[in-house]
Amino acid sequence: MSAYLKLDHIDKSFSRGAQTTEVLRDVNLVIENGEYVSIIGHSGCGKSTLLNLIAGLSTVTNGGVLLEDREVNSPGPERAVVFQNHSLLPWLTVYENVALAVNKVFSGKKTRAERHAWIMHNLELVQMAHASDKRPSEISGGMKQRVGIARALAMQPKILLLDEPFGALDALTRAHLQDSIMQIHAQLGNTMIMITHDVDEAVLLSDRIVMMTNGPAATIGEVLPVRLPRPRKRLELVTDRAYIAAREAVLKFLYERHRLVEAA
């Protein structure tokens, strides 16, 4: 297996004036094409920072992010981001939000009709075609998150980056969207990197779980492969040995070995 995405000795620190905070130190990771990787860790350890580096929204202090052996240092549509708080533009309808991305990315490559069909196709993928004329303020949180996913998928990215995509949702909606994401992943085979706080979510969705140590100067503490056959069914997994073992491993990492020490 060749390295599709490579995080090579990444350090990241923020400086404001004379003060420098080291957030990430020596992060190394190789991700294969089509892999589903979750990043889990306590709040504030630097997960979003790491994702932003991969997205190119901020730049590394040392080291490099390599996508297909080429260095990444600015954002681009081949690394689409599903933002933590959906980030839909409120003055555009659901359709127009996706269209903004599609018209930009496929301006020279698809005809008008093809682009329309592609927009609708992606909205159907997340079951949001029926609300295409609604504005973000008129749809629920879960629906907004789905549109955010449709917008990212519509860019036909090499890598889909998801920053706690279901964090703000209730358990039922969350489960529903997790199923959709699994389906989409099975259907399209994209590479996906997802930040999450939720151990069950990480185990259910991922091929590998990347567990981060606490900051400052956080790094990858452990990488857990999840060897569960796909398609995965959440009800059957509840009693599955491998599932329970994986879940336990992550919980132990988070709450025994790297317990969050409250800075008092």
């Binding site: 997205a55 190119g56 929204l57 600015s74 954002p75 681009g76 549509p77 690394r79 689409a80 981001v81 933002f83 708080n85 980030s87 533009l89 409120p90 003055w91 903004l100 991305a101 930009k104 990315v105 504005r135 973000p136 303020s137 860019m155």
Partner: protein, 301 residues
């Protein structure tokens, strides 16, 4: 309900082949009922919005009448205003001579000056604000200066304008421009600064260029701020025009007041004040309504 039953009965008696009539009679009635039902809440709403101000207005008129109705009072009571300036109140658009025209015409002349001065301020203000909002340093450097200039009263600019333009017409327009531009610049700049980082990130992932960014992200995102600035600006323009016209002359409503004062036509002044108030109110509502239309749904949720 009982009414319907009763009418149905009388229909039956009146028309012999009754069955057909009865089957028809409820329909128009129910349509009428639903029409009334639909009308009723609207009528109620109108009544709720119109009646209280109307009553208040009448009470104020009454107090005014009582306060100044005595012989020898310094200001005219409503009855005197009505008898002396009835033509101005009832017909805004009469033309009786070169200097004897309805207040509607005068307001229109003033509005045209406002349109020129304020229109220019809107364009220059939004563009300047957009440039300044982009740069932290421009913001830091210019904001204090704007905050100072903003407080200069409109009329204080007039001598400078007269000296520069040597003509009253452009001077009046300049005074409006310079009075109304500051809130437009400041609010636009703040609106640009406040574009959420999320929207900027979306733009960066999509690799939008400068022009696309301006039209697709910046303008819609800052629109609520821009319209706040425009609304303040149009109010200031209207304040400035009356003051400026008092000094520069011409046909506007401001000069009319000055002229009426010089010939002691106090009733005319009272009527002109009412015109100015109503027009200022409408201007504010128009800009606010337009802003509401443009920024529909633009507020983040």
């Amino acid at each position: 309900m009982s009414m319907t039953a009763l009418d149905g009965d009388s229909d039956k008696k009146a028309a012999k082949p009754g069955a057909a009539v009865i089957s028809f009679s409820p329909r128009p009635r129910s349509m009428f009922d639903s029409f009334v039902a639909r009308l009723a809440p609207n009528a109620r709403r109108v009544a709720l919005n119109v009646v209280p101000p109307l009553v208040t207005f009448l009470i104020l008129l009454l107090i005014w009448q009582l306060a100044f109705g005595r012989a020898g009072s310094t200001l005219p009571p409503p009855s005197k205003v009505w008898s002396e300036a009835r033509d101005l109140i009832t017909d805004p658009f009469f033309v009786a001579g070169p200097q004897d025209i309805g207040l509607g015409w005068r307001v229109l002349t003033s509005l045209q000056r406002v349109a020129e001065g304020f229109g220019l301020a809107a364009i220059v203000g939004v563009l300047t604000g957009a440039l300044i909002g982009q740069s932290v340093w421009a913001m830091r450097g210019l904001d204090p200066i704007f905050q100072v200039l903003r407080t200069v009263p409109p009329l204080a600019w007039l001598p400078i304008a007269l000296a520069a333009f040597r003509d009253s017409q452009p001077s009046a327009i300049f005074v409006i421009f310079i009075t109304s531009i500051w809130p437009i610049i400041i609010n636009t700049a703040v609106g640009i600064r406040n574009i959420p980082q999320d929207y900027r990130n979306v733009a960066r992932v999509l690799q939008l260029n400068q022009v696309e960014f301006f039209f697709k992200i910046m303008a819609p995102s800052a629109a609520p701020y821009i319209f706040t600035g425009l609304r303040i600006g149009v109010g200031l323009s209207w304040l400035a025009i009356v003051a400026a016209e008092m000094l520069t002359g011409g046909v506007g409503i401001g000069f009319f007041i000055w002229d009426a004062w010089n010939s002691s036509r106090l009733s005319d002044i009272v009527v002109a004040l009412a015109y100015i108030g109503v027009v200022g109110f409408l201007l504010d509502k128009i800009v606010a309504g337009f802003g509401g239309l443009v920024t529909r749904g633009a507020s983040p949720t």
